[in-house]
Symmetry: C2
Subunit: 155 residues, 2 copies
């Protein structure tokens, strides 16, 4: 069963690569053994660097379920999720993930997945894209307002 | 100058938290000292768990520049980017990032940023959201097709 859905994700990735519609990646979201959402990578076609197959499938499945979380859903993806997609998986609260090839396979065809995993371990200010923490007196004010807001939709 | 743009990001975050329009986070993309894009978090309002302030600002700025990369652009964000946004920053090829509070500040008001950073260090199959590698004979076929496609748009 898992292999069958993974095979569909690989097929999406292969179609994308063959037609040049986007990067060689595909993903499905499945709930109760039904496919809720399916997508290939659409970065170049939609001018959206976040339009990885997994992110697209998560966005579609949320609209499908009318919810910003995907409890009890499984993600099948042709390749190990990059850190961006891994984060999206946690925020969407998916139940589980199955993937068909690894970040090292992706690196072998010049995708940065493995490199980005390595960068996470570097201190922010020393990363290839430097990330500087500037401390300002009211930096925490948004969090205080959030804690005090009793009508907020928590997530 | 950096503090001024960061202050705008904090203001977006504060407005979001006060009005309940979304989580207490805000971000700007700046190029040549001009604000190209600005957004608060919109997860609950748009039913999109990936609609963090940074991701929204990156998507907007790309459409603005008609490009899927943001070379020479700076991201200012009210809080240290979570792993999803960190990944998005690398894929968008931003030049630099400035942030006003840390993942630990976010954790103190129950956001999972710090937890997701910790999960990345756990072996995939043992993560809280388990990620299983199933090896299939044609898993690498999409990458082969991608390498052979001479008309593809690389990214």
């Amino acid at each position: 069963m898992h292999a069958q859905f993974l095979q569909q994700a690989i097929q999406l990735a292969a179609d994308n690569a063959r037609t040049g519609q986007g990067g060689p990646f595909g993903a499905l979201i499945v709930k109760d053994q039904q496919v809720l959402a399916a997508s290939g990578n659409q970065v170049t076609r939609t001018l959206d660097p976040t339009a990885h197959a997994e992110v697209n499938a998560i966005r579609q499945a949320c609209l499908q379920l009318n919810d910003f979380q995907l409890h009890d859903c499984i993600l099948y993806t042709s390749c190990e999720p990059c850190p961006m997609c891994l984060g999206a998986i946690y925020w969407a609260r998916l139940a589980k993930v199955y993937y068909a090839c690894s970040r090292f396979d992706a690196a072998a065809v010049n995708f940065d997945d493995s490199f980005i995993y390595d960068e996470i371990l570097v201190a922010p200010a020393e990363r290839r894209i430097a990330m500087h923490h500037i401390k300002l007196p009211d930096a925490l004010q948004p969090f205080q307002l959030w804690s005090e807001n009793e009508t907020k939709v928590a997530y």
